[in-house]
Amino acid sequence: MSSGDPAQTPRRVDRAGIVIAALLAATAAVLVWDARGLQSTSMYGMGPEAMPVVIACGLALLAIGNFVDALRGNLPARESADPLPVVLILIGLALLIAIIGFGGGFILATAALFVTTSAAFGRRAILVDSVIALVMSTLIYLAFDRLLTLSLPTGPLERLL
């Protein structure tokens, strides 16, 4: 399901739709596989494994439904999409997660996300945006950590404050 697909005309096999159907079927399989490891301990009624199996059946039926829709080309038409900004934002999120994971602190992490997102939306003034991002995330940090006493992760910058 690449996001670069051109707009599709209806009444054609929709490849993305087939992938969606396959993913649903795979999810159903995972549910059943996971449910097999559960022990039914309740004497009466249903144990913990019953509901996953019911939901897996539903997912399997829906996989068939989506598959039929895809074969008939019944999916709504899509406009073309530009993958580059999506990738940029995802890189920003990955940076945020990495910085928090390695103890870089809230301010650096959110500033990195801010700059990449703003670049994804077409800004090219990376330096200006970095300054704006640092000032903004510092202010957010102070407001929420000090005023509202939420505990936000600290790193080198936060310890200076």
């Binding site: 309740s42 009624g45 999409a81 670049a119 903004m136 936000l152």
Partner: protein, 500 residues
Amino acid sequence: MMDTFAALAHGMAVAVQPMNLLYALIGVFLGTAVGVLPGIGPALTVALLLPVTYKLDPGGSLIMFAGIYYGGMYGGSTTAILINTPGESASMATALEGNKMAKAGRGGPALATSAIGSFVAGTIATIGLAFLAPWLVDFAVRFGPEDYFALMCVAFVTVSATFGDSPVRGLTSLFIGLTLGLVGIDKLTGQARLAFGVPELLDGVEVTTLAVGLFAVGEALYVASRRHHSEEKLEPVRGSLWMTKEDWKRSWKPWLRGTMFGFPIGALPAGGAEIPTFLSYSTEKRLTKHPEEFGKGAIEGVAGPEAANNASAAGTLVPLLTLGLPTSATAAMMLAGFQQYGLNPGPLLFAERPDLVWGLIASLFIANCMLLVLNLPLVGLWVRLLAIPQPWLYAGILVFATMGTIAAKPSVVELSMLAGFGVLGFLMRRFDFPIAPVVVGLILGPIAESQLRRALAISLGDPMTLLQSPISATLLGLALVALLAPFVLKGMGRFKANED
């Protein structure tokens, strides 16, 4: 009847305490400010602002919630009128006529009729809520677990299948939500399901993480991916803010009719404000004396749907407060707000914490009045918020969205889930799957399962118990009809196509 008045008076006494008034004011202000940002609907407004209320006491935070809820609704319609990007499908009708009015230099009256219409509808609907709720609570205390299970089946079906464009895609969304609801420790037996050995998953999927991921991150990715299509254009508010006598004359009936559509449909566990807003729009189009203006900026087309939207928002609080049944994404977020204090809305909450419930209902009145007084004079401020350049706007939204998760659980797993749900939300938008059923499925799925298991345990495993209770049998029958109806008569699609 008298009980309601006494309870409401008591609630008022709670709500007008200076601190609570302040909370309501902050809620209204924040709710409007966030709700006015393009692409942010009321559900996301509530999800984003949940962390702000973490440290408050339950009473204060629920009152702030009431303000955020109505503020977010109002902010959404401002965006719909001024830049034609409805944050949610329920504002689509408003955008249809309101944006045309703004283009014609009548943005002021459009904003005014939507504000006053929202106030009128919100007030009438909140009165409806106050009188309907105790009556429903009396009824709901007789519900056994099997009846609750059946009720939730009705909600599942109506939210996902009956009123959407495609029952298959709606049900797919619902089942994604139900699957996510399975993750974590099974409450009855203590066994882990779908945790794959990851300790963070044992607690299950956090509702706010899912909602913020699907709505905020997903929306940002989606808007970024199609930025090359069109720049949205902000219409300046020109001319008088005030409505002329003619505007009043043309607005008051649509307000009342919109309320009549919105409240009952919102109060039924049918979910969504789309149906009442579109019903109201088509009714006004039929009844108007100025049919030539429709499609070019008819004030009736703003007044009616806006009232219907607000009335149905208050309507969804009826099943939420009395039965614990969220039927819209926003209501699901409100339920998450209750749950963060370990409170479960339902008949018991009315009995145990009447101060909370009635304080909340009274706060809805107060928030509504505050919005009316605040919004028209402050419209210049909201317009300036709308003028934030898109790169900074979405960068700020993402920072704020991740902040909520970072504040609640600063773990790599939780943040990765947020990003993953963002991708899911992006794909669902791109392939036109509805989003609200996922959130409702995640919240209601586990509750429905435990009610069903309780019912079966009581009946010693006999599934016939579901059909022996008349309430449950009726509700399950309704659910079946609602599930099959869209397949049998594919009329809903035609109905929607007619209104465009």
